[in-house]
């Protein structure tokens, strides 16, 4: 839907309990979320009324597609910052509220991390002596099991899905040189390596598909806009890593939004790699970023050159369409350029800026100091603990606190974002209603809130327009309503 673009990030966290005889991830994830929900507010349950994750953007005939399961009995709450916090399969998951720009996406992603770390502290008091809960914001256990960090972008329904596939495969295969989180070793049947750029790349087996848990596709076809389906589609991006670096998250969402806006607004010539699945593996396994990929036009290019091409096309599109950008997107463009320049010269210039070069630099220093081979479990442990959400144990936090990993967000705004919704999407209405009238809301989801004001039937307030329900549109009305009844009446419900 052109820029600024509604977007959000959902993250599944890894979880374990040390000292437990029998660790049950579902029970522990439930304890984690319940402990937090009990510590902050009355819980409001998630409403599954409008969920249809099995709908396929390619149409109803995709033969290989099975709808993913939804486990409705698990813990599932809505937070006052507009987020959804729940148990998905065997992991705690935080789905950020809808936001309007990449900086906000990074902010509400970090707010989620803070919420999870507070949850760990709250849950810890319910554990037996000698047990300790650990939660990682990463994507793999190193043994072939992966859990996701998905981005969502709201697009115009008129944008043909096939056009997204045509233009995004090469982009997704190569953008990891910017937003990969780094990983020691390989898994899922991929060739052995010491270190690779992405946590997730090893797990991708298909170019396009509906699945998210097996035979993962680079472009996911889930067609569930959580908004007016006649106007919008939601691109569900499952190919990314969970990032600790604020800059990595910011650029990941920023450059992806810019490229999607270009595809929506113009018809750029085809830019495609010959074998996207092979390419995503090969790019991840080459921290020099110099691997030549075969393009469909017969030429070859490095992942950085392909990213340069997308960058140049975006600039050209914005210039020709005479689009004036918000400052945040200008900043994304400038950073994209400087990061690509550095990647081309020497990726290790980005040690201290992006996740994977920072992790690699640290592992190399540690390895040399302790004379370790790459097979040392201590390196694998550093890889894991880089992603710990507990700031006292998290290596990424140590790097940020000592100024060795660049920050673009402030602690105070992250704390604020953990409890306050973004002002410029419908998340404002969701979060503020929850804050003001928790006892009158029986359920909420992305596109509606259900009130119980003591009448015969419950009253559902639809929110099919992600850019309405903002502070500007309903702020005064909501804050001046003394009761939920008054609010519903003022809304004409």
């Amino acid at each position: 839907m052109s820029l600024p673009m509604v977007c959000g990030i959902e993250t599944e966290y890894g979880i374990t309990v040390l000292g437990a005889d029998e660790f049950n991830p579902v029970v522990s994830s439930s304890l984690l979320i319940n402990s937090y929900a009990d510590s902050v507010a009355r819980r409001v349950r998630w409403d599954f009324e409008d969920e249809s994750p099995g709908r396929d953007a390619r149409g109803p005939t995709a033969a290989d597609a099975k709808p993913p399961e939804i486990e409705t009995h698990l813990v599932n709450v809505v937070l006052t910052n507009g987020a959804r916090y729940y148990v998905d399969h065997a992991h705690p998951e935080y789905s950020s509220p809808e936001v309007m720009d990449p900086r906000q996406a990074a902010l509400y992603d970090k707010a989620g991390e803070l919420i999870v770390s507070r949850s760990v502290r709250a849950a810890q008091s319910h554990l037996e002596a000698g047990q300790r809960m650990i939660v990682y914001k990463n994507n793999s256990d190193g043994k072939g099991n992966s859990y996701g960090c998905h981005e969502n972008y709201l697009l115009d329904r008129k944008l043909a899905f096939s056009k997204i596939v045509t233009h995004m495969l090469a982009f997704f295969a190569t953008r990891q040189v910017i937003c990969g989180a780094g990983k020691v070793g390989a898994e899922h049947g991929q060739a052995a390596c010491d270190f690779q750029i992405s946590q997730r790349a090893d797990f991708f087996e298909e170019e396009v598909g509906l699945e998210t848990t097996l035979k993962r596709p680079i472009v996911n076809t889930r067609d569930e806009p959580h908004a007016d389906p006649g106007k919008y589609r939601r691109l569900h991006v499952i190919v990314g890593d969970a990032n600790m670096s604020e800059v990595s998250t910011y650029l990941k969402v920023g450059i992806t939004s810019l490229v999607l806006a270009m595809i929506e607004g113009s018809d750029p010539p085809e830019l495609a790699v010959l074998n996207p699945v092979g390419a995503i593996h090969a790019v991840s396994h080459d921290p020099t970023c110099r691997k030549l990929l075969q393009l469909t036009d017969g030429t070859r290019a490095t992942p950085v050159e392909i990213q340069w091409e997308y960058h140049d096309r975006v600039r050209k599109y914005l210039h020709e369409a005479d689009i004036q950008l918000d400052a945040v997107y200008d900043d994304v463009l400038d950073r994209w350029e400087s990061v690509l320049t550095a990647l081309e010269a020497d990726p290790m210039q980005l040690d201290g800026v992006l996740d994977w070069p920072t992790k690699l630099g640290l592992l190399e220093s540690y390895r040399h100091k302790n004379e370790l081979d790459w097979s040392s479990p201590r390196l694998k442990l550093i890889d894991l603990q880089y992603h710990d959400v507990d700031p006292r144990r998290s290596i990424a936090h140590k790097l940020m606190d000592s100024g060795r990993l660049e920050r673009i967000l402030g602690e105070a705004e992250i704390e604020e974002a953990a409890v306050t919704p973004p002002a410029d999407t419908r998340a404002w209405f969701r979060g503020r209603c929850l804050e003001r009238f928790p006892n009158s809301i029986v359920a909420a989801n992305w596109d509606s809130i259900v009130f119980d004001v003591g009448e015969d039937s419950l009253r559902r307030v639809p929110m099919l327009e992600p850019r309405r329900g903002t502070k500007e549109i309903v702020g005064d009305l909501l804050e001046s309503s003394e009761s939920p009844e008054a609010l519903l009446e003022a809304l004409g419900q």
């Binding site: 374990t16 998951e93 099991n145 320049t341 479990p377 290596i395």
Partner: protein, 65 residues
């Protein structure tokens, strides 16, 4: 193609070379940097989970999403 030219230029740009020889202050700087790195690595050792091999072996997740 102005865009193409601009990209070529920006891509040929070399990072600023530090042509200064390592004089005394350079050596001092390098030593300070090494000290800081050693400090950080010590700090990491202080928080790393015990028994790395067992810990890493036992960290097993169910696939998600």
């Amino acid at each position: 193609m102005a865009e193409q030219e601009r990209r070529q230029v920006s891509r040929r740009e070399e990072p600023a070379e530090d042509i200064e020889d390592l004089d005394d202050s350079g050596v001092e700087r390098a030593e300070k940097l090494k000290e800081e790195t050693d400090e950080l690595l010590d700090e990491i050792d202080a928080v790393l989970e015990e028994n790395a091999e067992e810990f890493v072996r036992n960290y097993i997740q169910k696939g998600g999403e």
